[in-house]
Point group: C2
Chain length 192, copies 2
Amino acid sequence: MSLASWRSPLARALHRNRALVYTRYLQLATVRADQRPANRTIVFRGFLDGSNQLQFVTDARSAKTEQIDRCAWGEACWYFPKTREQFRLAGELLLVKADYPDSTLQKARQAMWQALSDAARTQFAWAYPGKPQTDKDGFDVAVPDATTPLPHFCLLLLDPQAVDHLELRGDPQNRWLHRYDGSGWSAQAINP
Amino acid sequence: MSLASWRSPLARALHRNRALVYTRYLQLATVRADQRPANRTIVFRGFLDGSNQLQFVTDARSAKTEQIDRCAWGEACWYFPKTREQFRLAGELLLVKADYPDSTLQKARQAMWQALSDAARTQFAWAYPGKPQTDKDGFDVAVPDATTPLPHFCLLLLDPQAVDHLELRGDPQNRWLHRYDGSGWSAQAINP
């Protein structure tokens, strides 16, 4: 595989904004069962080896996994405050759950679990997310084993098909649309 | 009208994060004609007087106005880096275009235009957003008149019906779901 045309500007943005601890936070939009949009902050966890797919983690009990099961398409919006630029990455979402058949992706899921901090792993042992909170007992849990992912731990992949890159700093602003045509990427300057 | 239950925590977040110039930037998700989600950064421009509706500005030529015409529902995701908290505001979207019949909202649209900076107003005179860029001539434009909005200038309102507030700093994290039942707001603690 070759690097997509948006990989180099994205790498540059990540590098130039690295002083901000939240520079790896972005917002992922999905569609709910009632056809309305959902939107939440997620943490970028690098690219899947040898691909242009972004990695995230999620809990199979969360509302977004149900949304992705129904409509496996998302748009991530990533704003970089220091360089004042935005990437909108639209593409297919793939949930690698505990029973996902592909062994390479299962290995990636396991590697991601192992790479998490204890604090991040512990959140997957917390009480059912989004349910009414009855007490805090469901959060007083032991740190899960670092070698074997909990069953509801999922690796989430976003495979972009179109990337809209906007630089607010230009005069006028600069904006490019990167598109995948099934075999390769091309980029075009568009009006901001 | 009375202040919604999420207004006070949101005001506190805005205040505590005020040192960050981009604290008024949030991400708005909408749904495209093909049922896939769209997501982009927008700028919060205060509340409509006497209401719980968030104000934004947009260009009638932008893709999002077409999406909102088709599905007038959005979810805004607002992350506050300093206090490490997130608000997800889901609700109805209302586009106040040049021909919108309500005179109160037309006045609000006009007031918003007047409140913009020259630089912000000038962007509405730029070449058609999202179209392939042929040259930079379409950006070398005069500053529009400050009193009368350009025809494609829109006031965009988000009228939240559910607000999910997450504080990452708690141990465990704190999360509340605020809901509007048609007459008033109530809040419930939910699992993070």
